[in-house]
Symmetry: C2
Subunit: 245 residues, 2 copies
DNA sequence: CGCGCGATAATGTATAGATATTATTTGGCT
DNA sequence: AGCCAAATAATATCTATACATTATCGCGCG
């Protein structure tokens, strides 16, 4: 019987070196703290130039699987579970992936006067904002209520954008380059607004995602999304696996 | 007045090239879809070798800020907010960071017979497990209840470990190399167990984090953590910024 | 013994070239 | 026009070498 399994070995040399070193670490053959071969040794073992070895090892170091130090050499890093890749839900794609029909329904759309938020010690002036409250539906039943502020000083085009059929989230993603986003995730009880909009009982547990997006120092938008607790959850996956570099 | 601001410009050439290209993208000067200079052009502009330019650009491509194609050239990628770095709470550090005293109290500790979980289509046999239910406290008041299974086949040492004073989480991190972890985050209502252990009313919204950790194909441990909704939340930050490569 | 200082071993960066790969363009043939 | 093949332009990879940087080692001196 022929072996029809796909050849998963990377085609390029540096990727192959990386994969093999990675495999030895993940299999436990090389344990955390163990010293691994020097670039010169690997260069001899694979019969390639040091630059190629370096590329492979630098990539492993970037993912945090190994730790490299001049003169001291390279060691297998101690596993730390401090960060994970969180998949931000693309609401529409998520809903459609379950085979449900996506719906969007704006409830409020108005200009709000300049306001201040307090971040730590200092207040931050944010200027006038466009405020849109909307509900996202799966097969007609509400799943998410979103309160979004878009700050006009930072995103002038938002003053005239049409959010009657397109939600502000995708519009922003397509129009505005951003640099940093921060999310806060919490469990809250449905308040009066959420109770009505999501058609749940008062006090029902809901997942709250507060997202704030910046470009440089400038706040572009703040979104407050309340998901029906029974309808949505987030998943995050972390491993040294994802190909970086 | 002297400028005492730290020189944030990267010292190395490829990092400088990357930073400058990145800055032009983030400032909006080069917009999504725009074609950017070829490696040969950048090489001339910076008076360096093509390898150096390549390193800078490959790194930007790795973070997803640009998209590169042979022959077609390099273009600014459309911003996608699909992933973020989620800081996994180190409960103890978190509690102590707020100036509270950390406490740990195991409630149950027993061996459980082999069990099966169903993942998608196929059932997965997991074998015998050690089960530890514990409460984590801040200044004496409960903040988190954790149900943890550790599978003996995968982690034999767990059979004899002492979890009376050290929680299983840190013990595992220190003893067992893992490769992949997956988290599911949801909002749930406090059930009977949580109500008692967390000293909250029945039905109170709580943040649920289910964590499953593998080494290769082998499941090492499954943890189900229920946080008091009013006491804890998670934050995730994402930007193209973090230095990779 | 302990301290400092130079040698050394490892990684980090950069260069100039070569070859490989791949998508596009172009030109020729029907 | 339409289609296939060759030229081409861009990135991708690799080599061999050089020099820079830095933590550690080991030796000599007080």
């Amino acid at each position: 019987m022929h072996d029809h399994a796909p050849d998963t070995r990377p085609a390029t040399l540096h990727a192959r070196i990386r994969a093999e070193v990675e495999a030895r670490i993940l299999s436990g053959e090389w344990k955390p703290g163990d010293r691994l071969p020097t670039e010169t040794e690997l260069m001899a073992r694979y019969g390639c130039s040091r630059m190629t070895v370096n590329k492979a090892m630098a990539s492993l170091a970037a993912t945090g699987l190994i730790s490299r130090n001049r003169r001291a050499g390279t060691v297998v890093a101690r596993p730390r579970m401090h960060a994970a890749v969180l998949t931000i839900p693309d609401i529409r794609a998520d809903i459609e992936a379950r085979g449900a029909a996506y719906g969007y329904c704006p409830l409020l759309d108005e200009m709000r006067p300049p306001c201040c938020v307090h971040l730590g010690a200092e207040g931050h002036h944010l200027g006038q904002s466009r405020f849109v409250r909307s509900v996202h539906l799966a097969d007609g039943s509400p799943v998410l209520i979103e309160d979004r502020h878009i700050f006009i000083d930072a995103v002038p085009a938002a003053a005239t954008a049409d959010f009657r059929s397109e939600p502000p989230g995708p519009w922003l993603l397509g129009h505005v380059p951003w640099t940093v986003a921060e999310h806060r995730i919490a469990a809250i009880a449905a308040d009066a607004v959420a109770t009505r909009a999501l058609e749940v009982d008062f006090g029902t547990p809901c997942l709250l995602v507060e997202r704030r997006t910046w470009r440089g120092e400038e706040t572009l938008t703040i979104a407050r999304q309340v998901f029906r607790g029974d309808a949505f959850d987030l998943t995050a996956r972390f491993g040294p696996k994802p190909d970086i570099g």
